[in-house]
Symmetry: D2
Subunit: 456 residues, 4 copies
């Protein structure tokens, strides 16, 4: 997953982009980058790690201009080198071009192989680079058409922001898998961002989300909608954004993330009631769901786990010290809350199950009499090919074990997952959604997957 | 404030000290340091910033030995240079000596002036350095007596851990102002730390806290209690540790920090009841108190504020953008929780009032119908001279304004502080306490203060 | 100017390439890079500054493999960013390709514009990048032919070494403007380098220089000559390599550089005799010529100028301090040699004249009675377009002033340049040469120059 | 060995100190430091490596003030940490004090042990730190007397510059072992430096050298001579400064270094004549002596060895490659000069003999018919205890072998050392000198040596 932001028509636009990325930091901590343009001259700075680590006064001052775009990158398969960080920036026959991309293309390999065989030279291993090659090689006469031509060849998930010179373009894939919203600053200027929490910090008002397949252009302070891509018959916004990825203070898919999670928690309580002394969350992403569970069940809400927020990307692992060490580094129990109690632990999702297992062992050590584990989403049974970093099916505990086996594996007294139906119903008014990771039902075709199995 | 840790009789002791500091990171983020000793040879590494930023595999491997001590430093008056970071390490006539200190001496200036006039050369501007000069200049024949001699001249707050060669010493001031606990690893070896959460991560069992004035020595796996300092007539452990400073999963002064805060919240609800739709905390330090308030009042607990945990030490402040910007960088509101509601906001303490004022402005912007501010401690009216970093009296809102004026200044519908009596009663069984910042009643004499006003 | 080196069939080839670049450091100090290949996997490291500054144990160990190539870059117009440093490395449809290039193409702009209009995306601003695009886009079926195809489109100066997988290619332009020699290690393995001094340090025996237009391939320990490029009717090796650029312990164009310079000095003494007390050089590049002058004239050789070798690339220029400051930073006079004497100063060439002017002012300050300036090459009247970094004609003192005017400008008692004829005669047996910078007579067509003046 | 510089009464004094250190870089490349004072506030910057590597615009600008002193440090026994670099700077009861020291005390251990037993805490392992402790502990009432008191307790070699507040002091030991000269800037302001070449670059006129035991003070633009130390009966300036250490363009001990070396070379030719085809030096330190040898003998001077000046402090040593590798990295032969010839090689001194042996092997490889080795100083038979970094007697080839054995060991056809008498005679008018390393005759008592052998 990644976070993207674009700013147009604002003095010192890079500083606004910086704030946007800072608000979107939860979408990716591996690397950050900002490109800024003044008078058609582009400057780019990228750095490993958090946005506040890599961008200081000096860097921001050098990123002069009224147009800027930024990207914060999650650790993914492409590799961690800065050449894989975004914005991707190139000089092509129409001028300086920069691009940021959230999502994952499902035909990148097919496109890349074709481009390479034609003599294209790639600088990175990320799927997003095919987009700039397609634009540069388009035979269409205008930049507008070149971009439209290139985007039309893509399959999969893409929310993109592109600049050519000082003109900014933004688009979403026909399925509308990843979010992208447009905001406006009251003093003038436009902002594009993955989530509304970025608009809040930048001080922009939400104008509207981009629709599936929509392509817009910002130039001289004006937003124009260009002929875009034909929307898919059935839009498929990612439901995992609501469950885990987005910030609770954001609105995504028209829904308040906090309210959606609260509703998942309530529904979970209805589906898997239990007699217990307290309920607490795995902080912080499950807080809302745990509160919803508490409200619906009447079981008192507690703070049973403390999370250490100083965990860095580079935490070293001493030779130490028992199998739950990685969990202990991040969480500690509040013994007084747990000791002698029948506790309900609410987590937002269960992917590999390793962390949960460690947590439960800590909770038992702190003296819990009974541990009831509740997950505010269905079993993850199939990887995401649209941009969420997930392990292969072999490592997905939901794909490898029955619920009963998982309960035993986690060593809990009871285990309850939110049902697929319950989840979709809870946010029905904002759907339908892509729930492929829970259902195996993929909206956009998995072209590379077929291609790979054919070509080896 | 600072966090300190000592490890003795454990292979790769520096790695354990690292874990201890990591758990104590909330006590200071400005700089961290570890000293390790093998065969009487000491190695020291210090770095600015978080422990995980400055200590990687390479540094830890170079810190060989079975004895180690560590320190994490809060930003304080001494200045930010690494020469002011601890451990302080010197070679004196009895060998290599290292020292870590939590607390603040109230006669450091008097001692320092005397030492300087005798020709002592100081390397830092921190008060703790006087201790090593006093040890080095003691005329007593043994190390034990030299340390006792030196500590006997100190007034104020000090929890210290000292190594001379591979022998470790630990002591607390006669008033017992700052915490220090002794733990034991089941496989052998001793651990000293500011809070029990460090023992938890290191995997050591709490053995006992050190008593006021106590001086102990660890050598060859044995703990010996030496003749210490005469305890003050009335011990004065810092109550602010329970209110704000310590981690909720620690036990401090015999109390569970979480339970103490819960009780402060309950008492606050009793003292300042209000009719409202929901109660939420200023995360994370006020979570327990807000939950206590909710339990006692029956007003539903909510998550109304989201805190951005990526705020770094070096966050740059763009030219931006309205007076509440520093608050917005750290917090955002969940509009759905607040809009149209009568809300109770619980904060643990009110020092300058700047952040609270900004927060309330955000909360009003999010549509709150009424805002009731509740503080789970009394007004701060007098600075701490024992190691908590506080502004001067001029900047303490509690010292400058009446409660009514503060209510107006914050622009809240009602304001309620926990009473001094209510606070002390809530944790009476663990007291009595130093509550000087709330009462102006200082336990250990403020020697330098008098001296300075005499000498100019 | 640049230095290049290639190593094939030697364990830890990158270390050998490192030594080669170290010996060629005088050919460029701005940046250095090495690519190494093991089992078809390529690793590249580049760094600003000297080879010994940017390549330490760790970097060299990571550059595993039996095939390596390296480049050391002079400051040139392309800009100082590392993306402009070499080796250029790309992945194209035939595998990993790396390239190092010494020289300058005279049709790079024409080629680049054509490639860009076809949609090629360039990553750098250096002329050498067109070569890899030409290879990647060649329609020829084999790598051998693709390379030949690409090289056949180039005009100007190029000595290149290329790897595709573990196969190494080397070639020189049809005019043979820049040097490239092949050496062999007695224990097996091949080495390519700009100068023989690199072979000396690597411990390789000189096998043969590459001829103009020659293209060879090294694979599995065998050297194969491929059909190359048609040699120009009149080869044009650069005479400036002998005059200034190459190291005196190298053999270039079949000549000992030291002997060639000695001969230039002797001829200079014959052409411009003078009655004087001593002769000294501008160290170190003019040492050989000054010695030749002394031998021929019988005037005693002296050491009148001391050069400070600690001048770094990043020397700061304090607000200081008179117009000769930049010269003083680098040179100081030995007053005892100069005071009261009639001195002959020998320099290898006169480009802008700024340094010489400063030097002469220093020499006069040291008490010289007469200063006779002798230059062991003719006036530079026209820029080099084949890879030597020179100012434009406007800044060439030899193009702007008569010899008499220069004599006055430098404030010397007499000035003598080596004649064009005298220079060529001195090394006639190794020629003919390109002497365009002295004669304006360019061997390879200046395509971009015409193109630019046409297109603006 | 080290280089020191002091600047007083000049705007941006640190920049002048920087230039001075740059000119003195040959006296030490391990670390450099500058202290600057404005209004009694001192700022210090130290860095590993060359002065130009560690001091950039930013650092120099931060070193504000009209008084500055600097130090460049040679690799010595104290260890390479920056805490061992100078200026030493402390705050004592009279204010900020900084000190730079060239030379080596012979009673540092005795003084240090006494100070430590009195409770002094040392921060470094360098001998120079005892001086600041002695000043700080002096019972004398004024700074002038405190400094005089401290210096009076020192034995051995010391040229020091000290600042207290903005007052600068400078002194030399009673034997006058290390150089120190005073210069004056024509526009006002004073400069102190180890060698006159530093004055040249700073643009200061030589005023006078400091005499043995002299102590002066610079304040408000005035130089005052204080009561100093009683000069030794027989002054003993180091003759090795003339032979090897100083720059040839400096004047040291009243002599031109170049002329002195020239005379050593002439005398060497008289003492050890030989029939040969050419003479060349081991560049650069032996250039003057080789030229002297050539003049006296009539054997033509040649450039037979090329030195690579890019050898850095951190040169890595690949697994490579024959025993002469370290020599090859630094030197290469000019085959055309050597092949088939009877050559005389002149070196300035022979310490361990390792480099010379490697060089001769290279020269033989280049085809020399006969190799005659000439050393322009006597055999080094005894270590220097006054500041020149030398191996112990066990590693001094002159102390372990007869001249005949050395000749065989080096594999030369003949070997000739300059005689002790010949050396002293050549520079008699500037003497007498300390020639302890050649004669074993030490001027200043070796107190620590006796003390150590007594105490173990």
């Amino acid at each position: 997953m990644c976070g993207i932001v674009g700013v147009s028509g604002v003095e010192r636009a890079a500083e606004q982009a910086f704030l946007g990325l800072y608000a979107l930091q939860h979408r990716g901590q591996e690397a950050a980058g900002i490109a800024a343009i003044r008078d058609g001259e582009m400057r780019v700075h990228k750095a490993h790690g958090l946005i506040i680590e890599g961008f200081h006064d000096q860097e921001l001052r050098s990123l002069d201009g009224t147009v800027a775009l930024g990207h914060t990158r999650y650790s993914t398969a492409g590799g961690a080198g800065l050449h894989n960080a975004q914005p991707i920036h190139v000089r092509y026959h129409q001028g300086d071009l920069a691009l940021v991309h959230n999502g994952n293309l499902t035909n990148a390999k097919v496109l890349r192989d074709r481009l390479v065989s034609e003599g294209a030279l790639f600088q990175s291993t990320v799927d997003s680079e095919v987009i700039v090659h397609l634009i540069a090689r388009s035979r269409k006469p205008t930049v507008d058409e070149q971009i439209q031509d290139a985007l039309g060849q893509l399959i999969g998930a893409f929310s993109v922001i592109i600049t050519v010179g000082t003109t900014m373009y933004a688009a979403r894939d026909p399925w509308g898998i990843r979010p992208l919203v447009l905001g406006r600053k009251s003093e003038g200027g436009w902002v594009l961002a993955s989530e509304t929490c970025a608009l809040d910090l930048i001080g922009a008002e939400m104008e509207c989300p981009l629709n599936p397949g929509e392509l817009l252009k910002i130039e001289d302070g004006m937003v124009t909608y260009l002929p875009g891509l034909k929307p898919a018959d059935r839009p498929a916004p990612c439901i995992f954004e609501l469950i885990y990825f987005a910030r609770p203070d954001s609105r995504v898919w028209g829904a308040s993330v906090d309210r959606a999670r609260r509703e998942f928690g309530r529904q979970l309580a209805r589906e898997h009631p239990v007699d217990a002394d307290c309920v607490f969350s795995v902080p912080d992403s499950s807080n809302s769901a745990a509160l919803g569970f508490s409200e619906e069940s009447g079981i008192p809400f507690e703070l049973g786990l403390i999370r250490n927020h100083y965990v860095g990307r580079t935490f070293i692992h001493p030779t130490q010290t028992g199998r739950d060490f990685r969990v202990r580094i991040k969480y500690n129990t509040v013994r007084e809350v747990i000791d002698g109690k029948r506790v309900v632990v609410v987590d937002d999702s269960l992917v590999r199950g390793t962390t949960s297992r460690g947590l439960i062992s800590l909770i038992r050590e702190a003296g819990a009499k009974e541990v009831h584990f509740r997950v505010s989403s269905p079993p993850v049974i199939s990887p995401c090919f649209y941009g969420i970093d997930m392990p292969t099916r072999d490592e997905l505990i939901g794909a490898q074990m029955s619920v009963d086996q998982i309960r035993e594996h986690l060593n809990v007294d009871s285990l309850g997952y939110l049902s697929l139906e319950g989840m979709n119903n809870a946010v029905r008014q904002y759907g339908p959604f892509c729930d492929a990771c829970f259902s195996g039902n993929y909206a956009a075709p998995l072209v590379d997957l077929t291609y790979r199995s054919k070509c080896g």
